[in-house]
């Protein structure tokens, strides 16, 4: 299982000749290819990190702000129309992403958001909504409603009750969703490639890797360091948070 990772790491620090003659050995290690990958004009990795991180943060924030209050209303209201709304959102978890790319291009064009950061962030956020609302509503149902009533007695309105009393208690559910969304945004390839487009000059880590690697697939002094840089942050994050990440990603993969 770890051999590919070993090959990737070792060869990221070797020259082309060393990689070709001795792909599995340590050879003479050098930082030079890694440095060149960092300053690759085809794909600026540092800028890629920044852009991706911006998307990750924006999608996560927007997703929580939109999904959490909606889930609260759905979970707390006995009214029939909110149960129907829950089913309406639930239907979204069954829609495969591939089917959506083409019509979403149409919608974004109509709204004038095609090729823009706003359009991309909005669409990625919407993709997270069905499962977030499902997960949050389920979690809120376990939070005693007495708390809401106590807050109401103290004169808090519904918005304030939610954000100051209930929302802080939703930490575990929010953490799961944040992990899930972070990985799906970071690793997404199709949506940024098509919605942002190569023409925009905006590369996420994943589309940047595609731009940098696909043309130079046999120049291994480009391939290995670029791939290593693309996965390093996620891998470090994963090793430190493995328990939460494994449960979060598994929850996400069973959502369908």
């Amino acid at each position: 299982m770890l051999i590919p990772l070993y090959v990737l790491t070792v060869n990221a620090f070797k020259g082309q000749q060393d990689i070709l003659t001795d792909p599995f050995g340590l050879g003479s290690l050098t930082l030079e290819p890694l440095g060149r990958a960092l300053t690759n004009p085809q794909f600026n990795v540092v800028k890629g990190y920044a852009v991706t991180l911006l998307f990750v943060v924006a999608v996560n924030l927007l997703s929580v702000v939109l999904a959490a209050p909606a889930a609260y209303v759905i979970a707390r209201s006995p009214k029939r129309r909110f149960r129907v709304l829950m089913l309406f959102f639930l239907a979204g978890t069954f829609i495969p992403g591939q089917v959506l790319v083409i019509p979403v291009v149409y919608v974004l064009k109509t709204l004038g958001l095609m090729g823009t950061i706003r359009g991309f962030v909005l669409f990625e956020t919407v993709l997270t909504l069905p499962f977030s609302i499902f997960l949050y509503a389920g979690y809120i149902a376990t939070v005693p409603a007495v708390l809401d009533q106590a807050a109401a007695v103290d004169g808090a309105g519904r918005l304030r009750t939610f954000w100051q009393i209930v929302f802080p208690l939703m930490r575990p559910a929010v953490a799961t969703m944040v992990i899930l969304n972070t990985f799906s945004v970071w690793n997404d390839f199709v949506n940024p490639q098509i919605i942002l487009g190569p023409g925009s000059g905006l590369y996420t880590v994943t589309t940047g890797v595609y731009a940098a690697v696909s043309q130079y697939a046999t120049d291994y002094t480009v391939v290995f360091p670029t791939l290593l840089l693309a996965i390093a942050p996620l891998l470090v994050f994963f090793v430190f948070m493995q328990r939460h990440i494994i449960s979060g990603l598994t929850a996400g993969s069973t959502k369908g």
Partner: protein
Amino acid sequence: MTLTRVAPLVTTTVARQKPRRRDGWVTAIMVGPATVLYTVMLIVPVGLALYLSLTDWDGFSADPAFVGAANYLDLLDDPDLRRAAFVTLLVAAAGTAGLNLLGLGFALLVNGVSRANTFFRIVLFYPHVLSALVVGFLWSAILGTTGAVNNLVTSWGGEVLPFLSDPTWATITMIAVLVWAGFGVNVVLYLAGLQAVPHSLIEAARIDGATRRQVFRNVTLPALGPSVTVNIVLSLVTLLKTYDLVVSLTAGGPAGQTQTVAYLILWNSFHDARLGFGSAQSVLLMLVTGALAFVVTRLRRRGELAVHQ
């Protein structure tokens, strides 16, 4: 204590005092934005996909012409689609088998709480954290004609192995990489399933003199029934939309022989600017995926009922 006793009494008075209209506004503010965005960008597009599949949209024109069922008729005798459908079904079937055999096998191996098992779980799961695009590029650097393995083989005086340059080999390689990258999830799902198997049942069987294998076949496996269904459906649905890995591992080659349906959809849509035709293919893929998931669930349920009787 006092809180729980007093609260319901007071809230009713508070609710009565509060003007109803304001409450409606607050609810609208809380539910509205999510509902509107979700409808515009997820529900409307599904309907649009159906509509666009009946047009000749090229991705640019503002009002695509309505062409009726022409796209669907084109699908029927499209040799590319036929080949891609075969590759996709093969990948889905073989991949599902691989993911579940390895997933269940390793779950049984690393079941139980220990430091070593935690380590193994991390090692088995980590490829899932990486994007499929990176996984594909990495494996093509390892298995390509000038990749790591072939350099080793040729330096030992062997022939270059056509992992990615022969259609049959390339398909097998793709399935193997998909399984490598994905079975960690199945391990975790099966582990969760194993936690739910009642311990008393296993102990009872052991006391009655059942061997380990008998316990697995007659106690553990039947109790895992629902887990198996979830895992199979999940693997199928995921594999049927394989795209990123095709792009990076084989780019659909050699000679288009490893193109999957999802790859073909995006190729037709954005390379050939035939988004109407691509939409028709997406609709077809969605229907086939849904139908297969439904059939598998139904068959498995019948199997589970048979076990319980």
